[in-house]
Structure formats: structure tokens, C-alpha cells
């Protein structure tokens, strides 16, 4: 059993060392990543006090089933990201280790202010990484909005602190229902908006297009899977368990989630560049998953979160590699590219079909669970989810068909019309693609082997009482 504090401390320590010993940083990064990826499975569950102060007075880390599974997923994703982006690491190794520490802390922390700190750590690292793509204006936008988001979040928790006198999540969740309505609205909307910036909810996410749309093989998967998963998981934690909105306000949030989903999917449909398309798809998925968290479908939300994260790893890695190798990612110029690298094509296809939610792939299980929990609420939400899925399916299928089959319109498909594009340094991605592809297929046929822990995680999220007693039980 591994103490969760190590998951934050060791990456930070390694980052510190790597500043001094540049040559070792490569080894350190991979070592740390492998360590966290493996140790995620052996994480000790329960509450950990930092500095010996008992909650609600001190800061604590909380490993329940929910954060446990998120930690595993995030650290695995981080490792996969490193693998697929290992030619892009350059000078970013230290910052990557900081990100790893930050994202682990973000998921595990049990304190709202501590969460803010970790959030700042990863967003600032995010600015630095994003700046490596030379699109400074986009980074500037990210900076402005990210700062705005952090301020809004900070303001929200300030209101809470002023009212309740505590920032400990468990403590707040216990007292939150008794807070007056206007304070609830103010604090909730500020926290919502603040997190919405990172979680890519619609009116707050203007930075995403510039950042995601110009990613490299490293930052693409990193932002779209590791960051996105972390941000959405925190979102789920806070609005699913800690600051549960009233039934009326929640509909406003659900509406925003659904608007994000459908609007972003239509934007993706109108996109001609692969990375841009995937960007909007990521936004859409974020909207969908947050909607699921809001309506209480934690199980479905988690499955879709994992499904989306692993699928996007392949999709973004491939898209960014294609751009990196050819300087272009216009879909029309890529026709028949999969014929040159069938393994990546397989992984990409499976990931895509899983994302759309077609049967025989894991995503279908996510979809039926989503519909099931959406129907428990009312009839309109599932209808909108289905509408979004139709749009999503259309542009992904258009993409797949194009990428598999070279050929002029009106002529038989043939190798002659194949794209001039190539994928360089694709070996690690091929392996990842095949691996994830097989996992998606197997878990699409027998979902049980993945879902057992997810179900536990969802239960722990909806079971606030256990959370409280674990954290505050000592008092």
C-alpha cells in the first residue's frame, strides 16, 4: 500500500532534482511516471492529514473509490501521453513532473483552497507548455481566461469561507444545505464559472480552440486527456458531492452542459482540420460528461469520462503526429492515410467508434448507461444527448471513411489516389493504439472487467455520508 502523499511528493522532488541534473531528467520523468502509474493501483484508501492537523482545521487528502479510480486513469493517461509524445519532450520535462504532481493533488485534495493551489499549478504549467507551440496570442487568451477563471473560483470559495468559516470539503458539504439561498447562488455560480473555464464549459472556454487546435504530439494528448479528465473529475467531485446545487439551479447548469455538448458538436461538424475537429469534440464530450454529473448519473459519467480520455489519447496523438510530420492537418488532404499505418488506423477507428457509442466497443456501454440515468430525470435530456450523438457520429464517420479510403469522388476507391502524408515516429503510438483498441473491444463485449471499480467509484461519489464520516470521523 502506498501513501497517496507520495504521488504528489515524488514528482515534485524529481522535478526539483531535474532542475539540477538535466541529463537525468529524461530518466526521472519516465521513472516518476511509471511509478505513479503503477502505484495508483496500490494506493492506500482513506483520509490523510497533512501536517498533523485534523480536518476541518488542517488540509487533508482524500482517497475514496472515486479519487482512486481517477488517479489510476490520470496516471495511466499521463504515461501514455509521454510515450506518444516522447520525441517532443525537449525542455519540458521538469514542467511535466510538476504537472503530474499538480494533477494528482487536484484529484486527491480535500480542501477547496488547496484545490485552487493545485489548479493554479497545472494551469500555469499549461501556459508554459502551450507557449511551446509558438501561438502566443492563443496562449495569451488562455492566460487571460485562465486567470479570470481562477479568480472567479477564488471569489466563490471566499464567499463560502466568509459564510461558513471553513474550506474543508467535507465540512462544507455538511453545512452547505443550511446556507441561505442567495449565498448558495453566488458561491455556486462563481465556483461553477471558475471551474467551467478549465472544464471547457461553453461560455467560459474561448481559449480552447487556440490551444487545442495548435497542439503538438505532447500537449495534444496531455491537454485533452490528462488535464480534461482532471478538471472534469474535480467538477464531478465538487458539484456531485460537495456543493450540490438545488434542483432549480441545477437545471441551469445542466442546460449549460447540454448547450456545450450540442453547440460544440455542430462546430466540430463545421471543422475541416483534424485537430480543430477533435478540439470541438473534446469540448462537446466535456459538456456531456458534466451534464451526466449534474443529473446524478455518476456511473455513466465516469464510464464516459474514461472512454473519452482513452479515445482522445489516440485521436489527439494521431492528429498531432500527422500535423507534426506533414505541417498540415486538413482532413481532405489526408485521404487514405490509414492504409499506410493500419495499426494506428485500427486504434483510431475503434477509439472513434467507441466515442460515438457504437456497439461492440466500450462507448456503447457508456451510452446506454447515460441514457438510462438521463431517462430517470426526464424525457428531454436523453433526446438532446441523442441529438448530439447523431451529429458527433456524422463527422467522425466522415473522417474515418475519408482516412480509410483513398479515391476521387465518383471513382472506385484505389491506392493511386492516396495521400502524400506520412506519419513519422509512429511506433509507440501504434502500440498504444492497438492496446487501447483491444481494450475497447474487449470491454465493449464484456464491460464488467472495467466497470466494477467504476461502479464503486460512482457509489462513493453519491454516498456523501461515508465521505463525511471518513474525513470528519475523527472529531
Amino acid at each position: 500500500m502506498i501513501n497517496p502523499v507520495l504521488l504528489i511528493a515524488i514528482p515534485l522532488l524529481a522535478a526539483f532534482i531535474s532542475v539540477f541534473i538535466q541529463k537525468l531528467s529524461w530518466v526521472l520523468l519516465f521513472g516518476v511516471s511509471i511509478f505513479t502509474a503503477i502505484s495508483g493501483f496500490f494506493l492506500q484508501k482513506g483520509m490523510f492529514m497533512i501536517g498533523g492537523w485534523k480536518p476541518p482545521f488542517g488540509i487533508n487528502l482524500m482517497i475514496d473509490d472515486y479519487s482512486f479510480i481517477i488517479i489510476i486513469v490520470i496516471n495511466l493517461l499521463f504515461f501514455l501521453t509521454l510515450l506518444s509524445g516522447m520525441w517532443e519532450l525537449k525542455k519540458n520535462k521538469t514542467i511535466l513532473m510538476v504537472i503530474l504532481a499538480g494533477i494528482n493533488g487536484l484529484v486527491m485534495t480535500g480542501d477547496l483552497f488547496n484545490l485552487f493551489v493545485f489548479l493554479e499549478i497545472i494551469t500555469i504549467s499549461g501556459y508554459i507548455l502551450a507557449a511551446s507551440s509558438d501561438k502566443y496570442y492563443s496562449v495569451f487568451k488562455y492566460l487571460v481566461l485562465g486567470t479570470l477563471g481562477s479568480s472567479l473560483y477564488l471569489f466563490g470559495i471566499m464567499v463560502l469561507y466568509g459564510t461558513l468559516g471553513t474550506l474543508n470539503m467535507a465540512d462544507i458539504s455538511q453545512q452547505f444545505p443550511n446556507v441561505s439561498g442567495s449565498v448558495k447562488i453566488i458561491s455556486l455560480t462563481f465556483v461553477f464559472a471558475g471551474l467551467g473555464v478549465e472544464a471547457k464549459l461553453l461560455p467560459f472556454n474561448a481559449w480552447v480552440k487556440g490551444i487545442y487546435g495548435n497542439t503538438t504530439p505532447l500537449t495534444g494528448p496531455l491537454f485533452s486527456t490528462v488535464f480534461a479528465t482532471g478538471a472534469i473529475a474535480v467538477f464531478g467531485r465538487i458539484f456531485g458531492q460537495i456543493l450540490v446545487p438545488d434542483s432549480t439551479l441545477i437545471f441551469a447548469f445542466i442546460a449549460l452542459g447540454l448547450i456545450t455538448f450540442i453547440f460544440a458538436e455542430t462546430s466540430a461538424m463545421a471543422s475541416k482540420k483534424l485537430r480543430e475537429l477533435l478540439t470541438f469534440s473534446s469540448i462537446g464530450q466535456a459538456g456531456l460528461i458534466i451534464t451526466m454529473f449534474m443529473i446524478g448519473g455518476f456511473y455513466a459519467a465516469l464510464i464516459q469520462l474514461i472512454n473519452n480520455a482513452f479515445a482522445k489519447t489516440i485521436l489527439f496523438s494521431y492528429a498531432t503526429k500527422a500535423y507534426k510530420s506533414n505541417g498540415d492537418d486538413t482532413i481532405n488532404n489526408m485521404s487514405g492515410l490509414f492504409r499506410k499505418n493500419v495499426m494506428m488506423g485500427f486504434g483510431f477507428t475503434v477509439a472513434t467508434l467507441s466515442l460515438i457509442g457504437l456497439p461492440l466497443f466500450f462507448g456503447f456501454y457508456a451510452k446506454i448507461n447515460m441514457l438510462q440515468s438521463a431517462f430517470a430525470l426526464n424525457m428531454w435530456i436523453p433526446a438532446l444527448i441523442i441529438l448530439g450523438s447523431i451529429i458527433e457520429g456524422i463527422y467522425y464517420i466522415r473522417l474515418l471513411v475519408k482516412l480509410w479510403n483513398p479515391g476521387e469522388e465518383g471513382q472506385e476507391s484505389s491506392e493511386l489516389a492516396q495521400s502524400q502524408f506520412v506519419i513519422k515516429n509512429g511506433f509507440s503510438l501504434s502500440l498504444i493504439a492497438v492496446l487501447i483498441g483491444i481494450i475497447f473491444v474487449v470491454s465493449g463485449i464484456i464491460p464488467d472487467f472495467l466497470t466494477e471499480n467504476i461502479a464503486k467509484a460512482a457509489d462513493s461519489l453519491s454516498d456523501a455520508a461515508t465521505y463525511l464520516s471518513t474525513v470528519l470521523g475523527g472529531i
Binding site: Y137, A193, P359, L371, W404, E409, E412, I445
Partner: protein
């Protein structure tokens, strides 16, 4: 052999086929023939099985199960037969295919998928296999002529399948079960729920069948799919939609559940509305088929029209019309399969399916011609081929209910079908043989096999339609309808009867008489194809002397040339894209100020009206 292990075997051997095709292209293709034959053989053994339950796997908290039934067998045998017969063409097309391994694998997956659809005991299983069929067939289509049409196919198909998914979960929410039997029992108490489910679920059937306004994918996809896959799409996969309609309207007995609703011409208005859509698709399909230049597109539009007959028959839910609709499933599978296959054969030898580039092929490909001829006689509903039996039954069903507007469409489609089926016959097989096709040969013997079998079945069941109708009457009884009445070779409806054998014999007699007259008369002198009455002109070029282009131009002029439904869908797609662009400019603008505006707006809204919520 059980259904569940059959499905598992199919899925595994599709992988095997993939690998073997990578090794040797022909080997893999022959394996598809072998396996589809095996599947046909095994399915055939389930002829009299009903109510046997097989469990496939636990899918999360759900269980996927199969159950045998008569209607499932009927559809499964039609589909596997179509797949089996078409698979004979596969070995010859491997060289021309861009990705033969994937083709063979997807061919198998879609075949196994259809079996899964038909034998599903619960809606979840049905939906899973339905979607498997959709995506597996989807990826075959772009190997043909177009990369756009699979998207059209997927779009329309997913509109249907997601509507069905919605209905399924709506049912699950209100009934608490996916099981078709349980749902159908629960629905008899809840006609209001069912009314909604009926319309949402049947959309899947309509999209797959290509019923107006969802017909646009058929000509697009069937017309541009690989030549060997079009017959499967048209003859086979379209029928999956028929099956969904059957489940929605008959297996869940709509006629009983909705008996309290407004009845139009003897059926609930819900069924009547669907029939009206079927009627419109008959007319649209016929009119559009008449003016196609490409034979494959023409046959695809004819499928639209024939799907209309199927849905009309099924929605009648009576003794006669329903049997006609069911029988039409088989007839159309054989007829359109044979038509597509004979044009695949032509494309194999000449490389084109454009009718204006062909002509006079009867002299070079007589067997293909014969297969095509028999198929179109059946498709046009002319005795003594099997197509007449189903059309006759549908007409009788319509007549006994007095549905004159639907009958108008049915009659129009039936007479109109003479026009469009004759056009390829005339333009491709008859008329002047083009010099560039002088050395064309008949297709290899293996490609002849399916043509011969399809023709044989069409004739055989034309003479003895009772053989099929007897089974259909079993189906009817199993779903609570009165079985169609057969007496020997006589088929009896409430409004009349006919005897297929007598008609065949009389026709045979008439033909003999004519033949005798012909042969006792002085022998005719054979002349060259160019040796005709030319109004005194000197004719030297057979290509110019062949009437094939704009065949029915004069008729087409009467109804214009706008594809209004396609235009509408295009407009919708354009609007969606424009909306997407608008979202991009409004929320993801280059300037960050837009975003600040939205955030401010959000907070303004919250603080102005937040206290209200």
C-alpha cells in the same frame, strides 16, 4: 448448433477471414462463401424452432439473449441466402478491391450481425446487432465509388437507430424490461406510451427500408457501393428495416393495442400514417427510378418503391396483405439481388453500369440476361414469377380495406415498375451491341451459380407460392393474426383467389401454341444487328444507333428534375454547419472580449434572476 455459439463463431471467423485474406486474397474470399453457406445451413435447421432461448453474454447488468421464432427464421433465411449467393461473387472482386481483407471481414460481421438482429429476444440485443450491421456495412460502401455516400447512409441510419434507442430506453424506463415479449404485454395496458414508442421506434425501420423521406441514402449508397455489396444492401440489409417494422407493429400487436384509437380504413391511424409514407415512397421511388442513367441507381430507387410495398403489407396486419408484405421481403431480396448481381456481372466484364454505354449484351452474356429478365418479371409483379404473388396479396389486402389512396400509389408503382425495369433490359441487354464490347464473354461459372439459383427460386416460388405462404401463415398465427388461406396451389383471399399453377400451365399452353404456330410457318432468315429499317439513312455506328440515353425523357418532363428531399437534407446539413460556424465565431472568436462578454452575461443573468430560481 445454437444461435449464440453460431454468432460467436461468426465473429471469430470474421477475424480469421481477415488474416487469411491478408495471406491470400482468393482464399479469404472463398472462406466467406464457405462460412455463409455454413451459416445458411445451420440457420435452416431452425426452421421449426420457436421459443428456444439462448443466452449470449452478460453485458454489464444486462443480459443479451436470443430466442428462436418463425418470423426470425424467415428473415434470417432470406438474409443468409442473399449473403450466401452474393458471396460467390467475392473471389472475383478481390483484385479490384482497395482493402480486400477488411471487405471480407466486414462482409462476415454484417452477415452475422443480421442473424443477431433477427433472433434477438430483447431490444438491447436487437439494437446492438442492428448497429453492428450498420457500421460494418458502412465501412464497405466507401470502397466503391464514393466517400460521401457512406456519410449519408450513416446519417439517415443513425437518425433511425438513435430514435429506436430512445424508444428502447423510454420503454425500459416505463416497463423496466428490454424483453420484447414483456414489453408487448405491458404495452397492451398502456396504449398512450405505445403510441409514442411506435412512432419513434418505427423510424429505424423506415430509415433502413428507405421509406420516404428517408429514402435518399438508398440510391446514394447502393448506387456507389462496391458492385458485390450492392445486392446485399438492397436485397438483404434493407429487410432489416422491414424486421424492425414487423417487431414494432405486429409482434407488439399495434392493431390490438391501438384498437381504441381513431381507425382509418380499418387500421389504427398510426399504421395508416406509416402506410401513407410507404405509398409516397412507392411513387417517389418509381418516378426517380424511371429517370436514372445508371443501372445501379435505378435498381436502388426501385428498392425504395418496393420497400413501400413491404411496409404497406406489414402495416395492414391482416390475413392477406400482411402475408403479401412478408412474401415481398423474399421476392424482393431475390429479384433485386439478381438485378444487382447481373449488373455486377456486366460491370465485371465491361467496367461500367451506365446504361448508355452498354447495349446488345444478350448476345454475349445470355445467362446474365436470363437472370435479369426473370428478376424483372418478378419485380414488376407479372405472373408466373413469385413477385406477382406478393403484389396480388397486397392488392387484395388493400381492396378489402378500401384504401384507395394507398392503392393508387400501389397501382402506379406497379405499372411504373414496367417502365424502369424495362429500361436496363432494353438499354443494356437489347439493342445494338457496341463494338467496344465485341469480345465480352459470359461471366465465369462461379458467378453464374447465384444467378441461376436466384432465377430458379423466383420461378419455383412463382409457381408454388403456397410453399412460402404456408410458412408465413405459421408466422401470422404466431403473432396472433389469421393465417393466409392456401388450398393446394390456390391462394384464397376474402376478395378472390388465384391459382398459380393453373396460370403457369395456361401460360405454358399459350406459349406452346404460339411456338407451334411459329415453327410451322416458313423459317425466318437471320440478319445482322445493323440490318434494319433506317428510314433510308446509311447507318455505320452501332453506338449512335442505340436508343439508351434519356429513355423516358418525354415522361420525365411531366414531373421535373428537382430532388427536393435531397435538397432539403442538404439544406439542413448546411444549416447545421452554419450554426457550427456561428458558434465558432460567437464563442471561440479570435478576440477574448467575446468570451468576457458571455461570462458577464452569465453573471448578469444569475444576479438579475438568480433569486427567482
Amino acid at each position: 448448433m445454437t444461435i449464440n455459439s453460431l454468432i460467436a463463431q461468426g465473429m471469430i471467423s470474421s477475424l480469421l477471414v481477415y488474416l487469411l485474406t491478408k495471406l491470400n486474397k482468393k482464399l479469404g474470399a472463398f472462406l466467406t462463401v464457405l462460412f455463409s453457406g455454413y451459416l445458411l445451413f445451420v440457420i435452416f435447421g431452425f426452421q421449426n424452432s420457436a421459443g428456444e432461448v439462448f443466452s449470449l453474454i452478460h453485458f454489464g447488468e444486462f443480459e443479451l439473449t436470443f430466442m428462436t421464432s418463425h418470423y426470425a427464421w424467415y428473415f434470417a433465411i432470406v438474409l443468409t441466402l442473399t449473403y450466401f449467393l452474393v458471396s460467390f461473387f467475392n473471389p472475383y472482386w478481390m483484385k479490384k478491391m482497395v482493402n480486400p481483407a477488411a471487405y471480407n471481414m466486414l462482409f462476415m460481421v454484417s452477415m452475422v450481425g443480421t442473424v443477431g438482429v433477427f433472433y434477438a429476444k430483447d431490444f438491447l440485443t436487437l439494437f446492438i446487432f442492428y448497429e453492428i450491421v450498420v457500421w460494418s456495412s458502412l465501412f464497405i460502401i466507401p470502397m466503391g465509388k464514393s466517400r460521401k455516400t457512406p456519410v449519408i447512409y450513416y446519417t439517415i441510419s443513425s437518425i433511425g437507430s438513435f430514435a429506436m434507442l430512445y424508444a428502447i430506453f423510454y420503454l425500459y424506463h416505463s416497463v423496466g424490461s428490454f424483453d420484447i415479449q414483456a414489453v408487448s404485454e405491458a404495452m397492451s395496458q398502456a396504449p398512450n406510451t405505445y403510441r409514442f414508442v411506435f412512432f419513434t421506434m418505427i423510424v429505424a425501420g423506415l430509415t433502413k427500408l428507405g421509406i420516404f423521406p428517408f429514402h435518399t441514402w438508398l440510391p446514394a449508397a447502393h448506387g456507389s457501393a462496391p458492385h458485390t455489396f450492392s445486392p446485399v444492401l438492397s436485397g438483404g440489409l434493407v429487410k432489416v428495416g422491414g424486421f424492425i417494422a414487423l417487431i414494432t407493429a405486429t409482434v407488439i400487436p399495434s392493431f390490438k393495442i391501438l384498437a381504441g384509437d381513431l381507425q382509418l380504413m380499418g387500421v389504427p391511424f398510426e399504421n395508416y400514417l406509416i402506410m401513407l409514407l410507404g405509398a409516397v415512397s412507392i411513387v417517389v421511388g418509381t418516378l426517380m427510378a424511371i429517370k436514372q442513367e445508371d443501372a445501379k441507381k435505378l435498381i436502388a430507387y426501385s428498392t425504395v418503391s418496393n420497400s413501400g410495398y413491404i411496409i404497406i403489407g406489414l402495416m395492414l396486419n391482416d390475413q392477406v396483405g400482411f402475408a403479401g408484405g412478408m412474401m415481398h421481403v423474399f421476392n424482393h431480396a431475390m429479384a433485386s439481388g439478381a438485378m444487382f448481381l447481373s449488373f455486377a456481372a456486366i460491370a465485371y466484364r465491361t467496367g461500367t453500369t451506365k446504361m448508355s454505354e452498354l447495349g446488345g449484351l444478350i448476345k454475349r452474356m445470355p445467362l446474365t440476361f436470363a437472370a435479369y429478365l426473370i428478376a424483372i418479371i418478378s419485380l414488376a409483379g407479372i405472373p408466373p414469377m413469385s413477385g406477382f404473388a406478393s403484389k396480388w396479396l397486397i392488392f387484395q389486402g388493400l381492396a378489402s380495406n378500401g384504401m384507395m389512396f394507398i392503392a393508387l400509389a400501389a397501382f402506379f408503382g406497379s405499372i411504373g415498375s414496367f417502365l424502369y425495369v424495362f429500361r436496363p433490359l432494353s438499354a443494356a441487354f437489347l439493342g445494338q451491341l457496341s463494338p467496344k464490347h465485341k469480345d465480352v464473354k459470359e461471366v465465369p461459372w462461379m458467378m453464374q451459380i447465384p444467378l441461376i439459383i436466384m432465377s430458379f427460386l423466383t420461378i419455383f416460388y412463382g409457381i408454388f407460392p403456397g410453399r412460402i405462404l404456408a410458412y408465413i401463415s405459421k408466422i401470422q398465427e404466431s403473432v396472433g393474426l389469421k393465417g393466409v388461406e392456401i388450398e393446394g396451389t390456390k391462394i384464397i383471399a376474402a376478395t378472390g383467389m388465384w391459382d398459380s399453377l393453373v396460370i403457369t400451365l395456361v401460360f405454358g399452353g399459350g406459349f406452346m401454341l404460339a411456338a407451334i404456330l411459329f415453327f410451322i410457318s416458313p423459317k425466318a432468315k437471320p440478319v445482322d444487328q445493323m440490318n434494319t429499317y433506317t428510314s433510308g439513312e446509311f447507318i455505320y455506328d452501332p453506338d449512335h444507333y442505340h436508343y439508351a440515353k434519356n429513355y423516358y425523357a418525354t415522361f420525365e418532363n411531366n414531373y421535373g428534375n428537382k430532388k427536393r428531399v435531397e435538397l432539403f437534407f442538404d439544406a439542413v446539413a448546411l444549416r447545421v454547419k452554419e450554426f457550427g460556424e456561428m458558434v465558432k465565431t460567437m464563442f471561440f472568436a479570435k478576440s477574448v472580449s467575446f468570451s468576457i462578454f458571455w461570462i458577464m452575461l452569465f453573471f448578469t443573468l444569475v444576479y438579475f434572476w438568480g433569486d427567482k430560481v
